[in-house]
C-alpha cells in the first residue's frame, strides 16, 4: 500500500491556501455583482502593489509594522499569554523613540538611532510587563487589562503630543520632528520604505531562532500548548509568561519606533491605524508561526497597497480587501473542517490503493 502521510503543517498550509483562493473568488463575485470586471480589479491590485519598484517598496513598507506586531502576537500567544495590548505598547514605543529623537538632537545617528530603539523597546516592554505581572501575581485576566491599557497609552501619548511636547509648527497633534540624524534612510524614491526593514528581518530571524531552536522557545510553546503539563514538567510558567509578554511588548515598541524614525519623523497622535490588531490577525491566521507571519504580512501588505490602486483605477472601494481578509479568517476558523475533508479524501485514496 502506498503510504500517504500528510503532515499536519502541510495540511494547514493547504487549507489556508484554499481559504485564500475561496476568499478571492468571493471577492470576485462581489466585484461582479457591482458590475465590474474582477480580472481588471485584481490586475490593478497586483499591478498597484508590485508593478514597479516604487509600488513594491510601498508594499514592503506596509509589512514592517505588520511583521513586528505579528511576531509580538506570535510570541505571546504561543506562550499562552494573550497580549491584546500591542497597540498601546506601540504608541508608547513610538513616543519614546520620538522623545529621544527630538531631545538628544546632537547625537550622531549611529548612537542616536540605537538609543531611540532601546528607549522604544523599554517603553513597550515595560508597558507589557505591568499586565503580565498583574496576571501572574493576582490572576487578573491579561486580555482585559491589555485592552484597557491600549486606551490609556493612546490617550496619554495623545496628551503628551498635544500639550507638553506639542510641535511648534503645523497645528496637528504631533511632537516636534526628530533630528535629521535619527531619520532612517529611505530606500526607494518617494516610497516610505526605510532601512528598518533590514532590522525587522534580523528581528524575525532572531524570533524564529528563539521559538524553534532554543529551550526558551520550547518552554514558551509547552506553556502555550498545555499549561498544566508545563508546570508539571517543572517549567516556571509565571516567569516565562512574563518574559514572553515583555518580548511581545518590546517588538510592539520597536514597531512604533520605526513608524517614527522611518515613516513620519515625529510622533503623531494617531500614528497607528491599528497595526497591532492587524498583526494579531496575521499571526492568528498562520497559527503563530514565524515564517507564516512574514509571508502573511507581505500578503496583507499587497492587499492594502493594491487596494488603494484598485480603488483609484476601477472605483472598487478599497474596503473590499477587508472583506477578503475577513472571509479568509472565517474560513480559517473553519479550518478544522477543511482539514477533515482533506483527511477524508486521503482516507478514500488509501483504500483505493489498498483494496
Amino acid at each position: 500500500m502506498k503510504k500517504i502521510k500528510l503532515s499536519q503543517d502541510l495540511e494547514y498550509i493547504f487549507s489556508l491556501a484554499l481559504s485564500i483562493v475561496l476568499a478571492l473568488i468571493i471577492g470576485a463575485l462581489i466585484i461582479l455583482a457591482n458590475g465590474k470586471s474582477p480580472l481588471t480589479a485584481y490586475a490593478s491590485l497586483i499591478n498597484g502593489s508590485l508593478g514597479s519598484p516604487y509600488k513594491m517598496a510601498t508594499t514592503l513598507a506596509k509589512t514592517v509594522p505588520l511583521i513586528l506586531t505579528g511576531l509580538a502576537t506570535a510570541v505571546a500567544f504561543s506562550s499562552g499569554i494573550f497580549n491584546i495590548g500591542g497597540e498601546g505598547q506601540l504608541y508608547l514605543g513610538a513616543f519614546a523613540a520620538a522623545y529621544v529623537g527630538f531631545t538628544f538632537t546632537n547625537l550622531p545617528g549611529l548612537i542616536g538611532i540605537p538609543l531611540a530603539l532601546i528607549f522604544a523597546a523599554l517603553a513597550g516592554g515595560f508597558y507589557a510587563l505591568i499586565p503580565a505581572l498583574l496576571k501572574v501575581k493576582y490572576g487578573i485576566d491579561e486580555v482585559i487589562t491589555t485592552i484597557m491599557f491600549n486606551s490609556i497609552a493612546i490617550l496619554f501619548t495623545g496628551y503628551l503630543a498635544n500639550y507638553p511636547f506639542a510641535s511648534s509648527v503645523g497645528k496637528m497633534g504631533a511632537t516636534e520632528m526628530i533630528a535629521p540624524a535619527y531619520k532612517l534612510l529611505r530606500l526607494v524614491a518617494r516610497s516610505k520604505l526605510h532601512t528598518g526593514i533590514f532590522f525587522t528581518a534580523v528581528i524575525a530571524l532572531a524570533i524564529y531562532y528563539l521559538m524553534e531552536k532554543t529551550s526558551v522557545g520550547y518552554d514558551f510553546k509547552m506553556i502555550g500548548t498545555n499549561l498544566i503539563f508545563a508546570k508539571y514538567g517543572g517549567i516556571n510558567a509565571e516567569r516565562n509568561m512574563v518574559i514572553a509578554m515583555i518580548i511581545s511588548g518590546v517588538l510592539c515598541g520597536i514597531a512604533g519606533a520605526f513608524e517614527v524614525l522611518g515613516n513620519h519623523y515625529r510622533f503623531l497622535q494617531a500614528i497607528s491605524p491599528g497595526y497591532a490588531f492587524d498583526g494579531m490577525l496575521v499571526s492568528l491566521i498562520v497559527k503563530n508561526k514565524v515564517v507564516g507571519v512574514i509571508l502573511m504580512s507581505i500578503f496583507f501588505g499587497i492587499l492594502k497597497t493594491g487596494s488603494i490602486a484598485m480603488e483609484f483605477e476601477t472605483a472598487i472601494p478599497s474596503e473590499l480587501v477587508l472583506v477578503i481578509q475577513a472571509i479568509i479568517i472565517l474560513f480559517i476558523a473553519g479550518e478544522k473542517g477543511f482539514a477533515q475533508i482533506l483527511r477524508r479524501i486521503h482516507a478514500k485514496e488509501g483504500v483505493r490503493g489498498d483494496v
Binding site: 532554543t214 529551550s215 500548548t225 508539571y232 517543572g234 486521503h346
Partner: protein, 510 residues
C-alpha cells in the same frame, strides 16, 4: 437470545498508513452482554466508533435489527437505539452534572429555554433508578474521573439506548463500583431487554459479566466464544498471541532509608474544601507504598501537593529531611521526585506537541541537550528520544508525530519513559495503567518493579486494587482525605482493604 441485533460483515477501516480494522465479521445478539477484548491499538475502539457512526467503514456492511444500515453519524446510531460511553469523556466541564446528562436533548421550558429544574429531576431519577449516584448540581470540572464516567453512562441511558457500548467502563471504578455496574448491566439485560457491548482489558471482568466474548488482535477478529468456555489464560493468549504470566511480583528484598516523609498534611480541593485531612506516612528506598482508595477521596489532591502542583495548607513534606511543602514543581523535580500523573492527557503530556517534544520535557535545560544557556542540540535530543522510544517500546510512526494520535497505551509508555529516565530516587505514580491493555500493563508493572529493585522509593496511587496488591509492599487506605489503615501486603486480603477503603472501619482504625 439467538436473534442478532447487530451484524457486521467484512468491516474494514483504513486510516492513512494504518489498517485499523481488517475484514471483521461480528454478530451481537439481542439481550447479551458481549465483551470485546484486545490490546490497545487492536482496533476495538475503531470498530465501536464505526457502529456508533463516528467513523465510516472503508469496506463492509452493518446490519442493525437485520436491516442494512448506513450509520453516517451518531445521530443515526442514537435513533437506532445505540448509545456509547467513551473512554475519554465527552462532557462539558463547565456544565453541571444534570446539564451534561440531558445535553443534546434537553427538557425545555416554553420550547426555547432549557428547563434546569427538570434536568435535575431527570438526573436524580435516573441515578436512583440505576444506582449511579451523582450530585446533579456539581460542575463536571470539579468532579473526579470516576464520577464523570457515571454521568456519561447516565447520559446514554437518558437517551433511551437499547444497545449500550461501554468503552473501558471499569477502568476508573473501584471494585465496589464495578460490582454495582455489573449488577446494573445484568439488570438492564435481563429485565429491560437491552444489549450491552463492553470493551475491557480486565479478563476477570469478562469472565464474570459477559455471555460471549470476542477477541481482537492487530485489527483482526481472532475469535468469538461463549464465556463459559473461556478462561483467563485462553483469552490472554488469544489477545497477545503469547502466554501471559499473572504472577505476583516478589516482595522487596532490601528496604533502604526513608526518603520521603509526610506529616499531618492538609490540602484543599478546587472548591476550597479540605480534601486531604491530616495525612502522615513515609516511603523508604526500595519499597512501593500503595495508596488504596475509592476515586475522589483526596488522592488527586494528595499527589498534587506532593509534586508541588497544589498548595499545602498545613503539615510538611520532608524529602531527605528538607521540607518541600509549597515549593514549586521544578523544585520538587530538582529534589529528585518524578511523577506519573493520573490524567496523562491533561497533565502528563502535551497532546498537540510531538513525541520528541513530550520526551524532552525536563531535559531541555540540561546538558548535553542544551548549550550556551538556551540553544537546543537537536542531535543529542533525537538520540535520547530515539533511545527512549526504543527502550520503552513506544509505537509511533516517528518522533515528530503528535502525541494525540498515539494510542492510550503508547501515550502512557511515553510518560513512563520520560519520568523513569530521570533516575529520580522518588517516584510518585498515580493510576499508571488506567485504560491500558494487558501487554502495556505488564510492561509498565515490570518497569515499576525494576525501579523499586533499583532502590527507588515509590508511592503508588491506584484505583485498581489488583494493581495495588500486585505491586505494593505496603498498603495504606484512604477515605475522605484520611488514612484509615496501614498493612503489609502479605498480611491482608482484598476484602479487608475494600472495607477500609469505604470507611467502614474508620472508627476502629482511628
Amino acid at each position: 437470545m439467538q436473534e442478532s441485533i447487530i451484524k457486521l460483515v467484512g468491516i474494514s477501516k483504513v486510516f492513512p498508513g494504518v489498517v485499523a480494522n481488517d475484514n471483521i465479521n461480528l454478530e451481537i445478539r439481542r439481550g447479551e452482554i458481549h465483551a470485546i477484548v484486545g490490546e490497545n491499538g487492536a482496533g476495538k475502539s475503531t470498530l465501536m466508533k464505526i457502529i456508533y457512526g463516528l467513523y465510516q467503514p472503508t469496506a463492509g456492511e452493518i446490519y442493525i435489527n437485520g436491516r442494512l444500515m448506513n450509520v453516517a453519524n451518531p445521530q443515526i446510531a442514537i435513533k437506532n437505539g445505540i448509545g456509547m460511553v467513551h473512554q475519554h469523556f465527552m462532557l462539558v466541564p463547565s456544565f453541571t452534572a444534570a446539564e451534561n446528562v440531558v445535553l443534546g436533548s434537553e427538557p425545555r421550558k416554553n420550547t426555547v429555554f432549557m428547563d434546569f429544574e427538570e434536568a435535575v429531576i431527570i438526573t436524580k431519577a435516573l441515578s436512583e433508578k440505576y444506582g449511579l449516584y451523582v450530585d446533579p448540581y456539581q460542575k463536571v470540572e470539579d468532579l473526579s474521573v470516576g464520577i464523570q464516567q457515571r454521568i456519561e453512562i447516565l447520559k446514554v441511558l437518558y437517551r433511551g439506548a437499547d444497545i449500550l457500548i461501554l468503552d473501558e467502563p471499569t477502568a476508573v471504578l473501584t471494585p465496589q463500583e464495578t460490582q454495582e455496574l455489573f449488577a446494573i448491566m445484568r439488570r438492564l439485560v435481563k429485565d429491560m431487554g437491552k444489549t450491552i457491548i463492553i470493551i475491557t482489558h480486565k479478563l476477570q471482568e469478562v469472565l464474570e459479566v459477559s455471555h460471549r466474548v470476542s477477541v481482537m488482535r492487530r485489527g483482526k477478529l481472532v475469535g468469538t466464544m461463549d464465556t463459559k468456555d473461556a478462561t483467563e489464560q485462553i483469552l490472554a493468549e488469544m489477545m497477545v498471541g503469547k502466554e501471559v504470566v499473572f504472577d505476583k511480583f516478589h516482595a522487596n528484598q532490601n528496604k533502604g532509608k526513608t526518603l520521603m516523609e509526610v506529616k499531618n498534611l492538609v490540602v484543599r480541593d478546587n472548591r476550597g474544601f479540605i480534601a486531604v485531612d491530616g495525612i502522615s506516612f513515609s516511603v523508604a528506598a526500595g519499597e512501593i507504598l500503595g495508596v488504596a482508595g475509592v476515586e475522589g477521596n483526596g488522592q488527586t489532591e494528595l499527589v498534587e501537593a506532593l509534586t508541588g502542583l497544589r498548595k499545602v495548607e498545613e503539615g510538611s513534606i520532608l524529602v531527605n529531611g528538607k521540607d518541600m511543602a509549597n515549593r514549586s514543581p521544578s523544585e520538587f523535580r530538582k529534589m529528585g521526585i518524578s511523577h506519573i500523573p493520573e490524567d496523562r492527557l491533561k497533565t502528563g503530556l502535551a497532546p498537540e506537541a510531538s513525541v520528541n517534544e513530550n520526551l524532552l520535557m525536563g531535559y531541555q535545560h540540561k546538558k548535553p541537550y542544551e548549550s550556551f544557556g538556551m540553544k537546543l542540540n537537536k542531535k543529542a535530543i533525537y538520540q535520547k528520544t530515539a533511545q527512549l522510544i526504543k527502550q520503552f517500546d513506544i509505537r509511533t510512526p516517528s518522533g515528530q508525530t503528535k502525541v494525540k494520535s498515539l494510542s492510550g497505551g503508547n501515550m502512557q509508555k511515553l510518560v513512563v519513559a520520560r519520568e523513569f529516565s530521570f533516575n529520580s530516587p522518588i517516584l510518585i505514580i498515580s493510576q499508571p495503567t488506567r485504560g491500558l491493555d494487558i501487554g502495556a500493563i505488564e510492561f509498565i508493572h515490570r518497569q515499576i518493579i525494576e525501579m523499586r529493585d533499583a532502590g527507588r522509593a515509590i508511592l503508588l496511587i491506584s484505583a485498581d486494587l489488583d494493581e495495588i496488591f500486585r505491586l505494593s509492599d505496603r498498603i495504606v487506605t484512604i477515605y475522605e482525605g484520611k488514612l484509615t489503615g496501614e498493612f503489609m501486603t502479605a498480611d491482608v486480603t482484598k476484602q479487608a482493604i475494600g472495607l477500609y477503603m469505604t470507611g467502614k472501619n474508620l472508627s476502629t482504625a482511628g
